[in-house]
């Protein structure tokens, strides 16, 4: 594979040292703190980055947004520099520049300064981690800043789209994927509460310090060891306390449409859940290579969809996470050919499980893309530090670039094909369409898809003794169900048609037939319809509500 992973063994209680690359060294202190040093003497600066496993994935409803909040308050005052102003003055005196990085699984703060100030900077980090002061004035100001940032983010159609995609892909983990702090949580935030969570998230055994720049690793380990020795290990890790919800796999394919005037161009995303890094970190290299293969201009998807005029552009995105990973195919469809584009894209994605979908030139291009990505990630010290920070939080490992020779490339291609067979071929996915109302008119109305629901949410309601479908809501629901059936032709479902005992005989059967005919009229194939199990029920009701429930057609997934 093009990456090699090196385990840092940071759970060992004793100090362990290792050299993980030519210029990268790591050491694990007794209190659990991991220290990684990147030696790079190109410029006489040093960047110190403190990364913690904190993010929405580790948060409950009560503390949603706390990772962001604690990050904002990191340089906002501590026992040595009680106010943000004093802290700013100190940073200014050191000529330091600060910043932060974040994902749903990690949070980091960093500081860049002249190498001369390394020790001062380490002390500053110690003060910030060990003795933060959460003065309400600073907390309030950080919350306002955070809410403003969130308001801005919510105006971003791609953010909204991703939110919707997560909701469909990981319905039981939606809360964990939603990073937004609410005003209710903000109003219950207190310095005591923040201190409690800060101690947990910023404990040495949940943290890693990355020191990069014109430094000597031995000297840095000595200085960092001396400085952070006093930090006490926590008995629990956030992951122990806020155990993330096990993300359930998709049972069947779903679709959604996000219609917003904010959308600039129509976007079709076909997203497959793939293994998380915590489950199988090694498959991630196959995912990386596949991403590069799709993004190279010679990819089969590109040839079929773009070159043949069904789409403007196609790319892929591998969301490589510890919790809730997905592989997304991102397509800019041509509105007038949307239906063909969608069908062809699905077909070509399935074909990715075959060798014939890849050319030698494409593999070469993909490796070059990976090389290029790594080259740019490692050019600047601070960027390299951020790259390692995110990797540490997700995998405990440091990726190393290895472009590989041709035989290695072929081996890697085998792994990619295996990956596609395991996770794409006939596997359920979520297809999302981002569109603005004004763009909708350009689409072929019969081709554009609709949002599908969970099977159990499809309920066709009738009025008393009625066995025909007139209600537009019902028609829309059956249309949606038809689409669900079309994209899940192998779905084994039971159609349950009910009638109340007060209704005339065979109403249930008539209702079933009405639904059946309408499904047929919406293009559901005979094979799919024939495969459905039909159950007709005559039910008793004691009240109006029960009566209404008895006048429905419902659907149920029959587990194989």
């Amino acid at each position: 594979m093009n990456y090699r992973f090196f385990l840092l063994l940071f759970f060992l209680p004793l100090v362990t040292k290792s050299q993980v690359d030519e210029n990268i060294y790591s050491q694990n202190f007794e209190n659990g703190l991991t220290c990684i040093v990147i030696e790079n003497a190109t410029i006489p600066l040093v960047t110190i980055e403190w990364v913690v496993r904190a993010g929405t994935i580790y948060e409950t409803k009560e503390i949603k947004g706390y990772a962001s909040l604690l990050q904002k308050l990191f340089f906002a005052g501590n026992k040595d520099y009680p106010t943000k102003n004093l802290m700013s003055q100190k940073l200014n005196q050191m000529g330091a520049v600060i910043g932060s990085t974040q994902s749903e699984e990690h949070t980091s703060v960093y500081l860049t300064c002249s190498k001369r100030n390394l020790e001062n900077a380490l002390k500053l980090f110690l003060s910030a981690v060990k003795q933060p002061l959460f003065q309400m004035e600073e907390v309030d100001s950080a919350i306002i800043e955070l809410l403003n940032e969130q308001a801005y983010t919510q105006g971003d159609p791609y953010f909204l789209f991703d939110q919707q995609l997560n909701k469909n892909l990981f319905p039981n983990a939606l809360e964990k994927k939603d990073a937004l702090i609410t005003s209710k949580i903000a109003s219950t935030t207190s310095p005591e509460k923040l201190t409690l969570y800060q101690k947990l998230f910023y404990s040495p055994n949940n943290s890693c310090i990355i020191i990069s720049g014109d430094v000597n690793h031995k000297e840095v380990f000595r200085k960092a060891g001396t400085t952070f020795y006093a930090l006490l290990k926590n008995n629990y890790l956030p992951a122990d306390i806020y155990q993330t919800v096990a993300i359930k796999s998709l049972k069947y394919t779903g679709q959604f449409v996000l219609e917003t005037p904010l959308a600039q161009n129509p976007l079709l995303v076909i997203s497959f859940p793939v293994p998380d890094l915590r489950e199988n970190a090694f498959t991630s290299s196959a995912g990386d290579l596949l991403e590069a293969l799709i993004n190279s201009s010679g990819s089969s998807l590109n040839k079929k969809l773009v070159a043949e005029g069904y789409a403007y552009q196609i790319s892929s995105r591998y969301r490589k996470l510890k919790f809730g990973s997905s592989f997304d195919f991102i397509i800019s469809p041509k509105p007038e050919k949307f239906g063909e584009c969608y069908d062809l894209a699905r077909k070509e994605i399935m074909a990715l499980a075959n060798f014939s979908s890849y050319s030698t030139e494409q593999v070469k291009q993909a490796f070059q893309l990976l090389y290029s990505k790594n080259a740019f990630n490692t050019e600047k010290c601070a960027l390299y530090s951020h790259f390692i920070a995110a990797n540490w939080a997700k995998t405990n490992s440091i990726p190393e670039l290895n472009t590989g020779d041709f035989s290695e490339q072929l081996k890697s291609l085998n792994e990619v094909i295996n990956y596609c067979q395991l996770y794409f071929l006939n596997k359920p996915f979520i297809a999302g369409l981002l569109i603005s109302p004004s763009q909708k008119i350009n689409f072929n109305s019969t081709a554009i898809f609709t949002t599908t629901l969970k099977l159990s949410d499809y309920t066709i309601s009738f009025t008393k003794s009625d066995d025909q479908i007139f209600d537009p809501i019902n028609k829309e629901m059956i249309n949606s169900l038809a689409q669900l059936l079309k994209i899940n032709p192998d779905l084994n479902i039971e159609i349950i048609s009910n009638q109340d005992e007060v209704e005339k005989k065979e109403t249930a059967k008539a209702r079933f037939l009405a639904v059946f005919k309408m499904l047929e009229s919406y293009g559901v194939s005979e094979t799919v319809l024939d495969a459905m199990t039909v159950s007709l029920y005559i039910r008793h009701s004691n009240n109006e509500e029960q009566l209404r429930n008895n006048m429905t057609v419902q659907f149920k997934l029959i587990m194989p």
Binding site: E22, N23, N40, T42, I43, P44, L45, N92, Q93, M94, G95, A96, V97, T112, C113, S114, R116, N117, S297, Q368, Y371, S372, N374, A375, F376, T378, E379, K380, C381, A382, L401, T403
Partner: protein, 667 residues
């Protein structure tokens, strides 16, 4: 073109202290072949860096103001090593310098003095008598591969080396021995009265026309430069092959521990900054800048380069070039300044060969497709729209301040000037500037010198030598303040730009003033911006160019109050000086900001090249140490010495700017 064979004699005064001092002296150089004498000025800088004593001599021709040579003597107390570095700034690309070793073994035998090769071209020897160190530089100049010409280039006796008492103690009384060697006396150097040199008051000893001057040199025909055949009728698409002369790069005067390699590839000055990452940045500097054309032809260089890059090559059409660039993921861009133009490319190390091939083909063998000319013109004109209001005011200010000088021209040109340019004259201009003697190639990447050497040799094969760029700088008086109203206000914003004097690029004074201005900016930020809210975008910095100057830039609702507050801060700083803690903070701030901006390979290569164009690439390499070594006295002195007045240029509400406020004295 003349080769400057000269005899120079420097007597330095006893400026020996632990700090820094600089004086300007006058000397005489003699053209060795004609015995013609011309005056020159030389300045001497003496600094200590740890256990090193460094004397630098800068020799400037009085007639044209151009620096023609530099000498640096580095005396290392720590390892008893004396390094002499000599740089001849002019005409070096025409000849080869080699070392005449006849005196070299004198101290080599003792093992206490080591001749230090400088960039593989050792050229000097040093020797000591009882209490004085003499330096003599003997050179053989070769014209192409014909017979060598010897001449005595330089003689120095440098009292400042006396400061290395430890070294002298060790050597004192030792008589260098060896076949053919002798202790030289002043007379050997044509100095009639050696004792005169002991006088600290005597700062100039005119060079004599003593026949001794010539006795060590074998005079032959004057060295004639090889004139490029294609200059009169330059063609780019089919350059006439020139005999390529392998010449060493000019030797550098500054000491550095950096890993930068500085060499010449077929007369193209090349600087390689090795870095251990997978990105390669190539920056091709074309010397001359706005001195390469007249005011009427402003924009011609931009259009010439744009046209060359937008066209195809001999083997590829413009479309194929674009496709290849997309495939390689590279962009080839250019930018312009008053001192130089630069064409740049960033690529991946493992695709460097292909990328460089494309780059060099476009640079040296562009097809100058006629159908692309108009779109290149449109592109250059449309880039003029990207100029901010401050850019426009700055350009006006430059044209007023530097009227008749190199900086009064706008390298971007104007719509009118660009529209008048014809394809023939643009192509001709390109042929004039894209020549070996005007190029400095800076590469930042994971290379060895040999790797790069071969690639550049092949890639730029066939490029002509051409002529050097001639620059006309100097002569702007910044001693008193002036005020000029330039235009009415735009959107009710009053904008001010002002220029003041600055030290030469690369000098110690430049660093001192840089830090002084960093502190001053901090004070202005606190006192004028934050406390009084009189402006929010004030910046006072050294512009950092060949003819250095400082620039103050701000916008203000009440320009009089803002300027008064800023002037008050300047006056206060000049009168009282800065505090020690302010100095340290400013050093750290400057270092962080500077290096964060110059972290990428591209930025590093640009900084290195710019530093070289202004003075010497070692300035950029030594910056960290030099900044850290600055003393408070130097910083205070620099502010007092250079910020004596501003040339103010104002765009805004005419009634809101009282000239008297602007033109008040700064002391």
């Amino acid at each position: 073109m003349r080769i400057k064979n000269f005899l120079l004699l420097i007597f330095s005064s006893l400026l020996v202290n632990s700090g820094f001092s600089q004086s300007i002296f006058k000397g005489t150089k003699t053209n060795f072949n004609t015995n013609a004498k011309t005056d020159f000025n030389f300045s001497r800088t003496f600094v200590t860096q740890g256990t090193k004593y460094i004397s630098s001599y800068k020799l400037v021709d009085i007639t044209d103001g151009i620096q023609f040579a530099s000498i640096t003597i580095i005396n290392s107390k720590a390892d008893f090593k004396i390094t002499v570095q000599l740089t001849i700034q002019t005409d070096t690309t025409l000849f080869e310098i080699s070392y005449n070793d006849s005196l070299g073994s004198i101290f080599g035998l003792k093992g206490t003095f080591k001749k230090e090769p400088v960039n593989k071209y050792p050229l000097s020897v040093a020797f000591l008598t009882e209490n004085r160190t003499y330096l003599k530089v003997n050179q053989i100049i070769r014209k192409n591969t014909s017979s060598p010409e010897h001449f005595l280039l330089d003689r120095i006796f440098a009292d400042d080396l006396l400061v290395n008492t430890t070294l002298l103690e060790k050597l004192k009384g030792t008589q260098p021995t060896g076949t053919g060697n002798k202790i030289l006396v002043m007379a050997d150097f044509g100095v009639p009265n050696a004792n005169a040199s002991k006088s600290a008051d005597q700062k100039i000893i005119p060079a004599t026309n003593n026949s001794d001057n010539t006795k060590t040199a074998i005079t032959t025909e004057p060295v004639k430069p090889i004139e490029p055949k294609s200059v009169a009728n330059p063609t780019v698409t089919a350059p006439i092959e020139q005999p390529v002369i392998t010449a060493p790069a000019p030797l550098k005067i500054k000491f550095t521990n950096s890993n930068v390699k500085d060499f010449s590839i077929d007369s193209i000055r090349t600087i390689l900054k090795p870095v251990e990452n997978e990105i390669v940045s190539v920056q091709l500097f074309i010397n001359g800048g706005t001195s390469n054309y007249t005011v009427a032809k402003e924009g011609i260089e931009a259009l010439a380069i744009s046209w060359a890059l937008k066209s195809g090559t001999k083997t590829m059409t413009a479309e194929q070039v674009q496709m290849k660039m997309e495939q390689l993921g590279i962009n080839i861009n250019y930018s312009l300044s008053n001192d130089f133009s630069v064409i740049s490319m960033n690529c991946l190390r493992n695709q460097f060969d292909e990328s460089w091939q494309l780059f060099s083909d476009l640079i040296a063998r562009s097809s100058f497709q006629t159908d692309v000319f108009e779109s290149a013109r449109d592109e250059v004109i449309s880039s003029l729209n990207n100029q901010s209001a401050f850019d426009i005011l700055k350009q006006s200010a430059l044209s007023y301040s530097f009227v008749g000088k190199q900086y009064d021209k706008n390298p971007n040109g104007s719509t009118a000037s660009i529209n008048k340019l014809t394809s023939d004259e643009v192509k001709k201009h390109y042929a004039t500037i894209m020549v070996r003697r005007r190029l400095t190639l800076v590469v930042c990447g994971n290379f060895s010198s040999d790797d790069l050497n071969q690639k550049v040799k092949t890639g730029l094969k066939g490029m002509v030598n051409g002529t050097n760029a001639t620059t006309a700088i100097g002569g702007v008086d910044f001693n008193g303040s002036t005020f000029k109203f330039v235009s009415i206000n735009d959107n009710n914003i009053n904008r001010i730009i002002a220029f003041s004097a600055a030290p030469d690029a690369g000098s110690q004074d430049e660093l001192s003033l840089t830090i002084a201005l960093t502190i001053l900016n901090n004070r202005i930020n606190t006192e004028v911006e934050q406390k009084r809210n009189l402006t929010n975008d004030c910046e006072l910095n050294i512009v950092n160019c060949r003819q250095n100057f400082c620039m103050l830039q701000l916008s203000a609702a009440d320009p009089e109050k803002a300027i008064q507050a800023i002037i008050d801060e300047i006056k206060k700083a000049k009168k009282i000086g800065f505090a020690a803690d302010e100095l340290q903070i400013a050093k750290d701030q400057f270092i962080t900001q500077y290096y964060l901006q110059n972290e990428s390979n591209e930025a590093l290569a640009l900084a290195t090249g710019k530093s070289e164009i202004n003075d010497s690439w070692e300035d950029a390499e030594n910056l960290y140490a030099s900044i850290n070594n600055l003393l408070l006295n130097d910083v205070n002195a620099a502010l007092r010495k250079y910020i004596k007045g501003f040339r103010f240029y104002y765009s805004g509400d005419k009634d809101a700017a009282n000239e008297i406020i602007f033109t008040q004295k700064l002391d």
